[in-house]
């Protein structure tokens, strides 16, 4: 399945340093409906890459393809020079490619500390040891607390994650993701459903944790994209419409038309920029 020549040339096409994540001809069809069509995406290491587009553009499908929660109909995905097109989602996580979820994904009945520890616990392998007590897990408490402190959740460590307010759940999710020490993070609308204050908080957090990492984020809020992303890919109807820095893409008449045609409020934000 994996074509060695493709693997070797993966990323060189862009002319810069090899891409960390690259797709070629990525296509997903649902019973004849083409949700994602021939998408070539290349995410440079160390950058924050935004994936935007009007509703129904195929952002979420594309995201789910990259995180392996969906299998592509055609095309390949390379990560770090390796073909991951047919890998299982749990296995790409082991390669340091960690995703977040649109709805805050925490383990509600477990404590905030346990949530983060579950990610740290990956270090000791699969944790199939059902006969052992939790004592070996206590070794991770200190690092878990440090991570919680980092996102401002230290005082909630012993609370159940389900009892946290929404914004803090997202912060907990980011702390859990960071605990995996990911090489690359895939964020699915990190600011969806948030108040203004919370949005600023998360933007700061993402900016900070992106240091030394690569981030690909799907985002609706163009203000967030403008402030955060180095490169932006615009999708419409499953296809790539434009790619480049925000300033360049936001002036692209096709992009403006695509936004105007579907969502005047968002295009207004675009025009302001």
């Amino acid at each position: 399945m994996s074509n060695t020549t493709t693997e070797r040339t993966a990323g060189i096409s862009s002319g810069q340093q090899p891409a960390l994540l690259e797709t070629r001809g990525l296509t997903k069809e649902f019973r004849g409906f083409v949700a994602v069509s021939d998408v070539n995406l290349s995410v440079q290491p160390g950058t924050i890459h935004g994936l935007i587009g009007p509703n129904g553009a195929g952002k979420t499908t594309c995201f789910n393809l990259l995180t392996k929660f969906l299998q592509p109909t055609r095309g390949t995905i390379h990560y770090n020079g390796r073909n991951i097109t047919r890998m299982a989602p749990a296995d790409i996580a082991r390669l340091g490619l960690i995703r977040s979820f649109q709805i805050s994904a925490v383990f509600a009945s477990q404590t905030v500390l346990e949530n983060v520890r579950l990610a740290l616990q990956r270090e000791r392998g699969a944790s199939f040891d059902f006969w052992r007590s939790e004592a070996p897990l206590r070794a991770y408490n200190e690092r878990a607390m440090a991570l919680l402190e980092d996102v401002g959740l230290a005082e909630y460590a012993t609370a159940t994650a389900g009892s946290l307010p929404y914004g803090r759940k997202r912060a907990l999710e980011i702390a859990t993701t960071l605990a995996m020490d990911p090489k690359m993070m895939l964020l699915d609308e990190p600011t969806a459903g948030m108040t203004h204050a919370d949005v600023d908080h998360i933007v700061e957090l993402v900016k900070r944790v992106a240091q030394g990492r690569t981030v690909l984020m799907v985002e609706h809020n163009l203000k967030v994209v403008e402030g955060l992303c180095d490169t932006i890919t615009v999708l419409t109807r499953g296809r790539v419409l434009a790619e480049g820095p925000y300033a360049e893409v936001s002036r692209n008449p096709e992009v403006i038309a695509a936004y105007l045609g579907t969502d005047p409020e968002q295009s207004g934000a675009m025009a302001h920029a």
């Binding site: 749990a90 996580a93 009945s109 579950l118 007590s133 389900g162 929404y166």
Partner: protein, 327 residues
Amino acid sequence: MADGSGFSPAPAAAKDVLFGFTLAQLLAFGLMVAFVVISPFILYPVFLMNVLCFALFACAFNLLIGYLGLLSFGHAAFFGMGGYICGHLAKVLGLPPELAIIAGGLVAAALGAGMGWLAIRRTGIYFAMVTLALAQMVYFFCLQAPFTHGEDGIQSIPRGKLLGFFDLSNDFTLYWLVAGIFLAGFLMIHRIVHSPFGQVMKAIRENEPRAISLGYRADDYKLIAFILSAGLAGVAGATKSIVFGIATLNDVHWNMSGEVVLMTLLGGLGTVFGPVVGAAVIITMQNYLAEFGAWVTVMQGGIFVICVLAFRRGIIGEIANFLRVRL
């Protein structure tokens, strides 16, 4: 997206005191042990042994539904098969009871590996349906296989001598063995739930996609838990066949799968002590209301309806909620 579990803001989770038990759980455990030790001097030991076998069965079932969110509707297959294997080995091959019981558990675990491997590919109601269908296949196998003796079942299984020394034909001696098996099984389940494995198990129950995205292959954990649950259910069934000296089709029938669901629901899904209490209540009813014949089933149905309508958390779940502790 509604995250209101009815808790006041940020309730601190109770601290573990000993062996993963919280203080409240430790007290409840002490109470349970005291009951297990004292009751045979007051109540009929064979009845109590029956309760303990079903309590272990329900606890094993609860391991799947309570901590992994998997509703198996085929657990009778493991309970019944454990009984058949144990009975056959003790009677025909003359194995000592301890080995026969262990063998019953192992065969049930192996059966669980096969059934689980097929069933975990589905979730929710489909998982329940697949387990039910596979358990029905086991039922018809037991109806036809020569060693199970069809409608007659395996009769007059010898109780034998434990470790070649303790004569189990004495109800009292046997009671301590059964009590020991129950407590060992109970503590084993508690340990599983409070192990590094248990942490991942609960994470999968809470949010499977997220657990996967952290690099945990959810299916592996489901299969291991299924095998453990099946094995313990097999031990419970095997022990029961030694106690009563018979292994019959009753124990592999889907009715039995339904009964264990009822016991666990009544006692409290996902609580540590709920299945034990649920099993005790149901077995006591069947025992002391036996004179009403078929009406017992109607009463059980009534209780089930009341349980679902009025106290969904089950007996122990409601008590724990009232006292604001975990039990």
